[in-house]
């Protein structure tokens, strides 16, 4: 599994993107977004995480099995969150 070696310019570009997104997320916290702070914050965090995972962790150039391993953890976290919240978010929908 000798993947290609990622070159430093790619890393610097990714780093610049990460810093930019950090500035963005902190800057947006100074704006009154009401309830949207969490959604926006998570969205930016996902973008940053993707940059780290795809480039710093070399997932982009990794084989399928690695993609599956990476995706599985996330997918299972999704199962836990969605099904647990399915209880909490519908508890008072049907009141007796």
């Amino acid at each position: 599994m000798s993947e290609r070696v990622t070159q430093p310019p790619t890393y610097y570009a990714v780093f610049a993107g990460l810093i930019a997104l950090t500035v963005l997320t902190v800057g947006l916290s100074l704006v009154d977004l009401g309830e949207w702070h969490t959604v926006v914050g998570l969205g930016i965090a996902i973008a940053k995480a993707l940059l780290v995972v795809l480039f710093f962790m070399h997932l982009l150039h990794s084989d399928t099995m690695t993609w599956i391993a990476a995706g599985t953890g996330l997918f299972w976290l999704g199962i836990m969150l969605v099904l647990t919240l399915s209880d909490y978010l519908t508890r008072w929908v049907l009141s007796y």
């Binding site: 099995m65 299972w76 199962i79 099904l83 647990t84 209880d87 049907l94």
Partner: protein
């Protein structure tokens, strides 16, 4: 029957082993065992450990059933009784059922069945045993200094706030042993992906490997959540923050969600490897290729995935949202489908097979019957209305014991007997083994069938007394338990006896297919002369001329 005809040329040939040299006599002394990285020796270390835990858990069960001989709880008082069933549950679930088949039979045979010399990370394997011992020590210590009375489910806020027993050490021990599970699962997954012999495609893997792989997925993805759930209880107990305490704004159900997110898949950790063993036993003792290999293989994966989607069926009466309950109920029906597929396929394999009723097959047949009954009663419980009626009664206890004891323990006994000649180079006494299988089966039915009735009639679980009208059924159940005890003690005696006096076994006493039977009994340390090249599929019991080269 496929035999190894080719080997991968080795850049450096392995050192020739002396005739008669095997993993047991390759080195002597305590250090060679306690510092071994040989997966086979680690399997034996685990075997001794989990057997001890099994009999300790069984001792607790003995006291429980003795106490329940009379309605008025005359053997132990309520507090002690609570500690007994907690100890029984904790030891049996985490220190026997969850680990046993993967760490004993899986550790021993997974590398051999895929043509590898060891697991991917042998030192991690040894570390996992030490971690297990460490966790077990914590829990056993907690039991000796007074025990825990919360039930193995540790429901909050009782466990996090009100219980005055040794909750924290017990939970610590369980969390630690969880890391042992994760290490084993990780080792298995990486080994199956990266270390299969050339030619051993996924479609040629023995079904035991498929089931171990599926089990490992669950081990990896569920156990961390348990670690977090139990750690939060410890934090709550120390700091009284209110995570699970309603009087402080918390929700006890959050614990149950996190706990059952692990514990439901955990029961499939217990049963999936057993199903894998049954596939091996049925094919060998019916001398027939498995019916529907692809279906059985993918059913294992299907069970592993679906098992994560049903956890809140343990919480139907706890106060979760009705919509959520309905979703989990429907999903719980779905998870029965792949298990049923397996049962049909095993039955179809037996049909028109050339069946020999050796002890391993008796255990496998016991599994099929008892697991089916347990599984069906599980479907009853998936129905919301039915569950309302029997939740927290003996119906539930009967249901899960049918699967865990009638299922997993039976399959484990079958596998242990089947692979015993390979592991030890000795045959066990056939007559005694058949007798033990029969005694276990009869004892099991007598112990747990009355409990379905008791539960339906309303006898609650985890009570040290009961209304006098239930006594007859309880006495039947306790009598059955005494027979079951004999049934389990018998193999302990004759298997140990066979080590010294059993008939020496050859490489393949059963005439079975599978790479593990192509080596001497007991196997040499490196398993194979060199990495074999596989050219046939599994379970090729037909004459060679009729066998197709699998594409």
């Amino acid at each position: 029957m496929s035999t190894i005809t080719q080997y991968v040329p080795q850049a450096v040939p392995p050192p020739p082993s002396e005739p008669g040299e095997n993993y047991l006599n390759a080195a002597f002394g305590l250090r060679s065992w306690l510092l071994t990285t040989d997966h086979k020796r680690i399997a034996i270390l685990y075997l001794v450990t989990v057997t001890l835990m099994f009999f300790l858990g069984g001792a607790a069960a003995t006291l429980i059933r003795l106490n329940l001989m009379t309605p008025y709880g005359e053997l132990v008082n309520a507090d002690t009784y609570n500690k007994l069933f907690t100890m029984h549950g904790v030891l049996m679930v985490w220190f026997f059922l969850v680990p046993v088949i993967p760490v004993v039979l899986g550790n021993f045979f997974l590398p051999m069945m895929i043509g590898a010399r060891d697991l991917a990370f042998p030192r991690l394997n040894l570390a996992s045993w030490y971690i297990f011992i460490f966790g077990a020590a914590f829990t056993l210590w907690a039991i000796t200094v007074g025990g825990v009375d919360t039930g193995w489910t540790f429901y909050t806020p009782f466990s996090s706030k009100s219980s005055h027993t040794n909750v924290i050490p017990t939970l610590t021990g369980i969390v630690i042993s969880g890391f042992s599970s994760i290490a084993t699962g990780l080792n298995f997954v990486v080994t199956v992906h990266r270390m299969r012999a050339p030619g051993l495609t996924w479609g040629r893997l023995p079904l035991f490997i498929w089931s171990l792989y599926a089990t490992s997925i669950i081990l990896l993805l569920a156990t961390p959540v348990l670690a977090m759930a139990l750690s939060l209880v410890i934090i709550e107990r120390v700091f009284q923050i209110g995570i699970f305490d309603p009087s402080l704004g918390g929700d006890p159900l959050l614990f149950q969600h996190l706990f059952w997110f692990y514990s439901h898949p955990a029961v499939y950790i217990m049963v999936l490897p057993g199903m894998g063993i049954v596939s091996e036993l049925i094919t060998c003792f019916a001398r027939k290729h498995i019916f529907g290999y692809t279906f059985v293989a993918w059913a294992s994966i299907g069970i592993a995935v679906l098992s994560f989607l049903v956890w809140a069926h343990h919480m139907f009466v706890a106060g979760q949202a009705v919509y959520s309950a309905m979703i989990f109920s429907i999903l719980s029906y779905a998870v029965a489908v792949p298990s049923a597929i397996k049962v049909f396929n095993w039955t179809a394999t037996l049909y028109r097979g050339s069946v020999s009723y050796r002890a391993p097959l008796l255990f496998a047949l016991g599994f099929i019957g008892l697991f089916t009954m347990g599984g069906m009663t599980g479907l009853f419980l998936a129905a919301l209305g039915m569950d309302m009626h029997v939740h927290d009664t003996y119906f539930i206890i009967a249901h899960f014991h049918f699967i865990m004891v009638g299922g997993t323990v039976m399959a484990y006994m079958g596998g242990l007997h089947y692979w015993w000649p390979k592991m030890t180079g000795r045959m066990y006494p056939e007559g005694w083994s058949k007798l033990a299988a029969l005694i276990i089966f009869v004892g099991f039915i007598l112990t747990f069938l009355p409990q379905f009735v008791l539960g339906y009639l309303g006898m609650p679980r985890r009570y040290h007394t009961y209304p006098p009208e239930f006594q007859v059924l309880n006495v039947m159940s306790s009598a059955g338990a005494s027979i079951l005890a004999v049934g389990y003690l018998l193999p302990l005696v004759y298997l140990i006896w066979s080590l010294g006096y059993g008939e020496p076994a050859g490489p393949n006493p059963w005439g079975a297919t599978g790479l593990e039977w192509q080596t001497p009994s007991p196997p040499p340390t490196d398993n194979f002369v060199a990495t074999p090249i596989v050219t046939y599929g599994p379970y090729e019991y037909s004459p060679l001329e009729e066998t197709e080269l699998v594409g």
